[in-house]
Amino acid sequence: MTLATPAAAVEKFSGAYESLVAGNSDVPEWLKAVRQQGWATFSELGLPTKRRGNELWKYTNLQPLAAADFAYSIGGSVTVDQIKAAGPWDDAWNTVVVVDGKFSAELSNLHDTVGLDAGSLAEAISSGKGDIESQLASLAGREEYAFTALSTAFIEDGAYLAIADGTELEQPIQVVFVTSDDPESRASYPRLVVDAGANTSIVLIETYLNLSESSQFSAPVAELFAGDKSTIRHYRVQIENENSFHLGTTRVRQLGDTNFTSTTFAVGASIARNDVHTLLDAPGASCTLHGLYMTSGSQQQDQEISTTHAKPGCTSNQFYKGILSGKSHAVFSGKVVVMRDAQKSDATQKDLNLLLSRGAEIDAKPSLEIYADDVVAAHGATAGHVDKDTLFYLQSRGVDEEAAKAILVRGFAEEMLNEFEPKALNDFVERITDERIPILLEESDTIGTA
């Protein structure tokens, strides 16, 4: 098989794009222009390849994606029970459900919470809610990366959340993006826009589920606007089948004295990439980006994490942990840019990996680009095996080797799992982790060697 050329890749999606453009006369002009811009960018870039000089995609092999074909249409058939079985759920949460890129009022569970407007993105667009026109695709997608551009070309629907100034919500808001159980391979481009007003405080859970066994392609984009002095506790859960492709983008713009804390739990897909960027755009903004990724078989999992310190006195912290087995491959690419104006910045980056097999590979590259001079920064990355002395210690107390290994792997994940505070979410990530550990250990061949 030869590598798809950019032109061939563009052709793969052009039929769908043309019929989308032809079919939608009731879309506002501004959105047509946005889509057009996205498509123009994607046409120019094509699918990224590992070609030299393409630093951002150096470690990721997109060949399997380039070789596949995907139909396009939004919406599909899913039941609430399927969603509850596959992902975290709590009736007390406000939950917005998006099926194959289309908002579902029927599956969503919304409580008319004061200060919260949660619902369909398509509706927010057509009725011109809030600042949707200036916000949508402003942080992500017009002229940067291929997948965000592609997603932007296909903006139709998704979820829209607006939190009124001063609203503090204790109960989480969950947005579930679910891929229906469809034997046909399809593409979806779900969007999320969150407009958190000044002095708001929310817990946001972004969940990606896939009910299908077949190969599905999803390029979701989330854009989060954190208003002055807002606090957002964000979680991202991504769990899909091993034939699918997930190329996700999260963009966050933080205003003054905002606090954005995010923890990711990523275990799914054949190729999964989560590209997160936080822009610290006013003094006193702080962000904490944490995550746990687990890969087995021949999975590829990329965490592309970047923060820009644009203004003085901001703090950022990136800390990811990975557990890799089989012949899987993970990338942690953490980047912090401190602009000239951003004096008194504080940035830390850390990526710790547990390699359970010889065939597993991690490319961890934390990097700092500093243009200011009064900055505190630290970064580090490690990859290690399960320690044989520790294993012996556990065994000497009567725990057999298999159980001891499981205890150690679980122990490694524990500090990240503990960050998932909402009870139903915590139960969910713990359950998935406990289900994964035996699979990881089955493909393990390095435990006990130093």
Partner: protein, 255 residues
Amino acid sequence: MLEINNLHASVVDIENSEILKGINLKVGKGEVHAIMGPNGSGKSTLANVLMGRPDYLVTDGDVTLEGESILELRPDQRAHLGMFLAFQYPAEIPGVRPWQFLKAALDSKAESRGEDKMSVRNFSKLFDEKVEAVGINPNLVKRSLNEGFSGGEKKRNEMLQLEVLQPALAILDETDSGLDVDALRIVAEGVNSMRSPERSFIVVTHYQRLLNYITPDVVHILVKGKIVKTGGADLALEVEKDGYQEYLEAAGANA
């Protein structure tokens, strides 16, 4: 209870690395044996070989527990037979809480013996009791196993595990080192309260001071991988006074 016959052991993968050079030792039921000896003489190696640490290779001799050889058994199987090693340097295990881990250890012991697992309620009660008995800060045991524990806290935690697991043969490798007087007394009281006609101890120590609290039945001096002298509790006092020079010279002449 335990019989060690002509035990030779080396480090796996290192040629000519023999550390134990023919150890003979018999520990009867209910006895407390102390092993003393200079740094690097092989005390920890002996303790670890008894527990089945895979870093060491037994090249000759045998070790039997209640008449059955244990050398082919895995460490967890030895633990199920009632053996316990309190480590000189206990491992730090991030993310694993002592409570969870001890419950898992007890459960697997029960399972291996075809006994019922202890209920969570009964276990919690036992655990809390022992936490108080060994004087470990209850907040510590909510944290990761040994992670960030001070030297003394780690040793107390080893005592906690010893008391919960109630082994038939406990090997304490310098559990007294690095302890303040109060902690030392707790270790000694722990051992004394567990002393019974059914339970034996091997206590590795450098200091007479522990033996002031725990009176051993037998004291062995281990030098360069061999037991060069065996005696009663008095022997420890002699060593405290005169040091190991005499034994080192004798061992040097023999080598």
